[in-house]
Symmetry: C2
Subunit: 396 residues, 2 copies
């Protein structure tokens, strides 16, 4: 018999997917270049050239057994070492090979991190607004995701609400900075306060509480800043990374978990991830992709277009009277809708071929998300549509 | 806190891994060419040239967004269609795109198949001798693997024992033909009898019982035969495939599940697999690897060395008086040890630098496995060591 748990899910359709399908259908009518599709968080810049060169060279010159043979179950050992060195050099956390576990993107990283440090029934605390896939990521492990309501002013952490939700059952705290959907980057002050609180709670409850940090947007930051590295602030931390956004490789499914060397059981956590893999059928990302990313470990695609687009949209939104926090990174911006009901707002926008995503499913009703990983020319052309939309619907 | 369920596993070391580590260490002493390492089932022939050419061409010529962009969550749609066409053409089962779900090898395929058609507490029936990773594959879903004792004569199915174990709680039957470790290929008669019994049990218990068929060795068959295709015999069947062995790509983690078009809920099973992926962090195999295998869908590496090696070993074993069934495929042979205790037998063989795996962990005590995916020259050189071993230890 088909498993009813999964079957029951088929009814619920993702708002993002529905909007994206609408955009595609509308594009067939009027030309996709005329649809201002801000729905999907898909990188819009090509992969770094050096990655392509590395893959071609590997296929031309490597021993096929080395290139395509089984990786050890924790990932290619040399690749793990290169990742450890890079993180150590960049963020000052003394990772070694044994602390790195290669995964199928950030989704795989989070799947392993969660299973390793929670058991069914445990609470995982997350923060609104949040990436909706965190729901199945957490809940399918048997743990339960509880959401701290949003700090809707600056999209840092609402500490009053966090303290209210913290109890003895909390096994892990899941953060995402730079943040999808808000574009916010947690400040050092935010991270320090969060980690101080977590240390205090570990003491109070007498057990480990892990910080699981989802960092696919780590390399996409604006205004010349860098992202404070969460693991530098807290020993029991697991950094979950994906090369999807930094190298524009989302389809290649390549990332890792980095275990803080001072975490409880730091020396065996990667081995435990390997045990988890046996049951969930993961068994490593592609061996050739692992070897290719290792050759370009500190490179990124040309990510500058995202900042260009952000500036265009931010300036426009401010000019049109939106309440919006300036994103510190990612390729998202997260303004307040011009009416309380963001679903209604986004529906009206469709008449102007503006595809905006209401943030109800992100846990922040009244806001909407724009994913500006699209051509700058299209962003520019969308501004007229936006002005018309706001003028006719809200200032008419 | 670290999850104790996974932590508890760390003590148990795989016999195969231990032997393989011994072989490596011994190789450092006397030269690996002098260690007759029959422990690991790792393909020993290079990937098909056309695959390499396809990968290089894709990286040189494709739009990087198409090559590296997110696959739809069920796999690249065109690739799924190509897989469906190939299976339909080869085996006469009328698959369409919607019946194919791309996975990270056979491990990923089985992980999804099991979760889709069982619920925690259900029984999955397997057959000794069996691939030991079936234990975590099944048991980590919450279902329970129960093993039908081996038919130690021909390594077909012990139907008397199967009927004894069959009850209302059985949700799926897991088969593997050609078989690791026995090398046996289920005959048409075996498959027909199994499927007749399953149809009868479906009727008797009033619910679906799925056949999950693990087929990574489908293309490695001997004596000019072909493998009867299990899905052709039974509607409720899920074929789990990997390109690891046929194309020598184990590290690339690429395979699929093919849902029989006549299965219950055949049109939504792939979509359910997609739902399962959300929780286990799978989200598709590498996009470029998917596209490359699709270009060589009906090709294999030059697999003839496995048959050459099998013939050499089979003839030697028979000559030396072993009881052994002639393998129909795979790169394994599965003789009876020359004493009741196969562990003791394999231990003695180590003194002759013969690395043989006792089959206790495969559920067939008294037998041992030889993985002959090694150079033919080494197989030839091992024969002298084998003769000496048998003569000195058992006929001295």
């Amino acid at each position: 018999m088909i498993n009813e748990f999964y079957k029951a899910r088929l009814g619920g359709k993702s708002v993002i997917r529905e909007l994206s399908e609408y955009a595609t259908a509308r594009g067939q009518e009027i030309g996709y270049e005329n649809v201002f599709d801000y729905s999907l968080g898909n990188p819009s810049v090509p992969v770094a050239d050096d990655y392509t060169k590395a893959m071609i060279r590997l296929h031309e010159e490597s021993d096929p057994m080395d290139l395509h043979g089984y990786s050890p179950s924790l990932g290619n050992t040399a690749v793990r070492g290169i990742v450890a060195d890079s993180l150590k050099r960049r963020f000052g956390v003394p990772y070694e090979t044994k602390h790195i576990f290669m995964t199928s993107g950030a989704a795989g990283a989070i799947a392993h991190a969660l299973r390793a440090v929670t058991k069914p029934g445990d609470t995982v605390l997350g923060f609104a607004p949040f990436f909706p896939e965190y729901m199945p990521y957490v809940n399918d492990t048997g743990a339960v995701l509880r959401l701290v309501p949003a700090d809707t002013e600056h999209f840092q952490i609402n500490f009053d609400e966090l303290e209210k939700l913290f109890d003895d059952n909390v096994a892990a705290v899941l953060i995402n900075s730079p943040n999808n959907p808000s574009g916010a980057v947690y400040s050092e002050a935010t991270l320090k306060r969060l980690c101080d609180l977590m240390r205090q709670k570990q003491k109070e409850y007498g057990h480990d509480i892990f910080l699981i940090s989802d960092e696919p947007y780590r390399e996409i930051v604006f205004d010349g800043k860098t992202v404070p590295y969460p693991s530098a602030f807290y020993d029991n931390s697991l950094s979950c990374y994906s090369f999807s956004k930094s190298l524009s490789l989302p389809g290649e499914r390549i990332g890792y978990v980095a275990v803080n060397p001072k975490a409880t059981d730091a020396d065996i956590l990667a081995i435990i991830f390997g045990q988890i893999s046996r049951g969930i059928g993961h068994n490593c990302p592609s061996s050739s992709v692992q070897q290719a990313v290792a050759q370009v470990i500190d490179e990124t695609s040309d990510l500058s277009v995202y900042e260009t687009n952000m500036n265009l949209l931010y300036d426009m939104l401010i000019r049109l009277g939106f309440t919006v926090e300036r994103p510190g990174g990612t390729f998202y911006i997260f303004p307040k809708a011009l009416e309380d009901d963001a679903v209604a707002f986004c529906k009206k926008a469709l008449a102007y071929d503006l595809i905006l995503v209401p943030a109800d499913s992100f846990g922040a009703p009244g806001f909407f998300r724009m994913a500006y990983c699209i051509d700058t020319e299209k962003v520019k052309r969308s501004i007229g549509a936006f002005e018309k939309f706001v003028k006719e619907e809200y200032k008419g």
